[in-house]
Symmetry: C2
Subunit: 204 residues, 2 copies
DNA sequence: TTTTTATTGTGAAATATATAACTATTTTTG
DNA sequence: CAAAAATAGTTATATATTTCACAATAAAAA
């Protein structure tokens, strides 16, 4: 299977292609797309080649063909259901984000331990943690976004795993211990900001 | 200078060490810390070695020494001021996040183009874009978080650059064109979720 | 005190990732 | 129609990153 980094690029090509298509482009060259997403032309071609995506020599790639190939690779013909656990500042922001829906990811429900956060009339329904199993089954959910405080992250992850979740997008700044069949993708915004400061020369 | 990936690890060591210290640890071994943050023991040692951080043969590393070394490297003895541009769902969540302050990053102000979002009584003051230069200068800000819609991202980034910002944490799913002296760190949460789905075997 | 053990520090090897250089093919031009 | 130009596809090379292997050394045990 593709590497994690390569997958990231392919998904960015897809986003870039959607933009280019909106601007009226019907075909792209490797360097056009590369420039759009910040990747060298050679790497664009290599990535496509690795996935068996063909262009036309001297003619570039058909935008629609590329998009449908990528759509197939990433299962974008179907809608993927997702849940958000922890409906605080971050969880609410994510649950209201329109971008997910536009890319066929559907946040079907939120969960929280705090009774004050439970709300059936919110943008999406927010349930107590007891309903986790039920909702996961009903909506055939296998991926969850974890947005609970650091101290609760591991315990909550355990609950998710025990209810059959196999992918966690973890926003808490802590490493989760999970079984091998569960994949965790950590996004640590503090670290992202801190290293930006360091490398942009703000420090010292 | 260190690579971007290495810096990320060092910052995660720091967070892990803070946790371990809270749990009462006074010294750590490379494999203890490695386990805490998900890095091999060898790499932990190499990273420290690369920054001239010394441990004790057979005695591990002193937690306090490590933390103060890392604090020095990342300028954590001073408070770094940050602004958030785009006070929508994501911008507001970030501006209210306590974690930044706990790690000596201070979100001093928010900015928005929408008059309805302007508010001096919010958790942080929210200004119109006209005040950008003034606030950046007053608080000596060099790093900004960009949380405006995709279509406005490039234009807004240009404004930031023209006011002297040299680091941008970009949350919009688009590549920004900036001069060489400006560093952009892109965090694309959609791509992070999509590739989690792909690699966790949800797709197909 | 000597031996054993545990752990750091680091050079060598392996692996992964990206770039460069080249070939093949198609289109365009003269 | 032949030559030139442009671009995909691919192989070779370079660079970056991680792991392996082990010497050095300090602490603990005998
Ligand atoms: N807000 C941000 O901008 C931001 C930035 C970077 C990282 N993060 C991380 O994202 C996570 C969420 O941050 P936040 O600012 O939204 O926090 P928050 O405190 O606003 O919200 C956390 C929510 O989780 C709920 N919760 C607590 N324990 C729970 C449990 N055991 N089970 C289910 N729900 C539980 C709380 O009731 C609350 O609603 C944290 O780990 C934080 O470190 C947030
Ligand atoms: N909300 C999320 O969970 C989420 C997730 C992933 C990515 N993002 C990205 O983060 C960015 C912000 O998302 P959001 O959900 O907060 O959007 P939002 O629409 O809720 O907020 C955007 C804010 O930016 C302001 N704005 C618009 N144009 C501006 C301009 N030219 N200058 C200054 N301010 C301007 C708007 O008034 C609004 O307040 C988007 O690029 C989005 O794609 C958001």
């Amino acid at each position: 299977m593709a590497s994690f980094t390569q997958t990231k690029r392919l998904l960015r090509y897809r986003m870039g292609l959607i933009r280019l298509k909106k601007m009226g482009l019907e075909k792209v060259f490797s360097y056009t797309l590369g420039k759009e997403v910040g990747v060298s032309a050679e790497l664009v071609r290599k990535d496509f080649s690795a996935f068996g995506i063909k262009g036309h020599r001297r003619g570039g790639y058909e935008v629609d063909d590329l998009l449908s190939s990528l759509e197939k690779i990433f299962g974008k013909d179907r809608i993927q259901n997702v849940i958000v656990v922890g409906m605080g500042n971050m969880g609410r922001a994510l649950s209201m984000y329109k971008g997910f829906r536009e890319h066929n990811m559907n946040v079907v429900a939120g969960f929280d331990i705090d009774p004050a956060k439970l709300n059936k009339k919110f943008h999406i329904p927010v349930y107590s943690m007891e309903s986790l199993g039920e909702v996961i089954e009903a909506f055939n959910v296998s991926v969850a976004v974890l947005a609970v405080p650091e101290v609760a992250a591991q315990e909550t992850a355990n609950q998710l795993v025990s209810h059959g979740i196999s992918g966690i997008l973890n926003l808490a700044p802590v490493l989760l211990k999970t079984p091998d069949h569960v994949l965790v993708n950590n996004v640590n915004l503090m670290v992202e900001l801190e290293r930006l400061m360091y490398h942009s020369g703000v420090i010292q």
